[in-house]
């Protein structure tokens, strides 16, 4: 049987979200609703996971009242679907994220992910005996965001406290795999990197590791 023999309704999604028994299925909760919005991305082949961190150097201190600006380059055509944030003291003790603000902006469109700088506390999984506000990581976006050329993302992490902190924002992307033979077909057909070249030649191979 080929994958194309299956109908859409027969095609169960098998991934970390379905295999993790710690994730409770609460149909009217934010996470469950976001997962439904991610269905197309979860079913797509020819994509692989790619996580980017900002700042790239966890040892880099963010001075008091300062903002760390990082620009990361992702593969054009990638999809941002989640994020996770952690804040640390200069001694690498994990903090609750109350002293930082984050902002992510697509450099191509200039559209920020958050309307205003978002509190780090709302995007971290930190919790302790007195504070259980830490959420399920990663924080899912209401729908995945595509990033087209030039594939530049500006990340700002602002420290609002009187002490230096360390921080790491992890952005969860699904990036397109370069299909073997795609370059040959693009040269012969003149198709673009996505869609047209694949569909017009019909003879390209998408490779996915693992199988069953």
């Amino acid at each position: 049987m080929k994958a194309t023999d299956f109908t859409r309704s027969d095609w169960e999604i098998i991934d970390g979200f379905t295999l993790n028994p710690n994730i409770l299925y609460l149909p009217y909760h934010y996470t469950a609703m976001c997962l439904s919005q991610l269905e197309t991305l979860r079913r797509a082949n020819l994509y692989r996971a790619r996580w980017y961190v900002a700042p790239p150097d966890i040892t880099q201190l963010i001075a008091a009242y300062d903002t760390n600006e990082t620009q990361i380059q992702v593969t054009p055509g990638s999809w941002l679907w989640g994020l996770s944030y952690n804040e640390y003291s200069d001694a690498y003790v994990i903090l609750d994220g109350n002293h930082s603000l984050i902002q992510v902006t697509d450099n191509c469109t200039g559209v920020p992910l958050f309307h205003e700088y978002a509190s780090g506390r709302g995007n971290t999984g930190y919790r302790n005996a007195q504070d259980f506000r830490g959420g399920i990581m990663p924080v899912l976006l209401t729908e995945p965001r595509c990033v087209v050329e030039p594939g530049l993302i500006n990340v700002e992490v602002a420290n609002t406290s009187a002490s230096a902190i360390r921080a790491q924002l992890v952005l969860f992307f699904a990036e397109p795999c370069i299909i073997t033979g795609q370059v040959r077909d693009e040269q012969s057909v003149g198709g673009d990197s996505y869609g047209k070249g694949i569909m017009s030649t019909g003879g390209m191979s998408g490779i996915r590791r693992g199988g069953k």
Partner: protein
């Protein structure tokens, strides 16, 4: 699942399963990407949706448009009596329906005993809860009442309902060094109606 595979750069590895084409979900994503590429190629959403420019082609935060309203707030307060507390000197809130930009500022102390970069005074510009980069901890006098200083990198863009606070914090031991005078801060720029 398909068990056929093509000879590729990965070799004839039975751990790989080959698909001949992108599945329907990938095609759906590719269509979406193509759409956004077309939008970017045509100049972006702003160009497509709001082609008319208000001031001769320059964005309104670069050149003040005819509908713009000048923004100028200069305030002086007496020397705070507490150290380590952020004391607002200038506060302004952008009105609904207006964006803006701050292009000039000034900060100075008219009393005695202040030494530049001594740590006695910490000036900060904050927008809501975000301390503007490079302006979150200034320890020196910048500009004057006659000549405010331009902001580095052109200006600070503001959005409707954002609150801007220009504050000063006395460092440890500052009250023993400073005497009299006023803490003066100023913000200059313009606001314009959101198009």
């Amino acid at each position: 699942m398909s068990t056929t595979f093509h000879s590729t750069a990965f070799g004839a590895n039975p751990s790989y399963t080959a698909f001949e084409r992108a599945n329907y979900a990938t095609q759906c994503l590719n269509h979406h990407i193509s759409m956004w590429r077309d939008i970017a190629f045509q100049g972006g959403l702003n160009t497509m949706c709001c082609p008319a420019s208000m001031s001769g082609g320059e964005p309104p935060w670069i050149v003040m448009p005819p509908q713009g309203i000048r923004l100028q707030q200069v305030t002086g307060i007496s020397l705070p009596g507490v150290e380590g507390v952020e004391t607002p000197v200038v506060s302004l809130t952008m009105p609904i329906g207006y964006d803006g930009v701050i292009t000039l500022h000034l900060q100075l102390y008219t009393g005695t005993g202040f030494v530049e970069f001594s740590g006695d005074l910490h000036w900060r510009i904050r927008i809501n809860q975000w301390y503007v980069k490079d302006y979150g901890n200034m320890e020196t006098t910048l500009g004057s009442l006659q000549t405010p200083i331009p902001l580095n990198r052109g200006g600070i863009r503001l959005k409707a309902l954002q609150k801007v606070v220009y504050s000063v914090t006395l460092g440890a031991g500052a009250l023993g060094n400073l005497a009299g005078g006023r803490m003066i801060a100023g913000l200059f720029g313009w606001r314009y109606p959101i198009s």
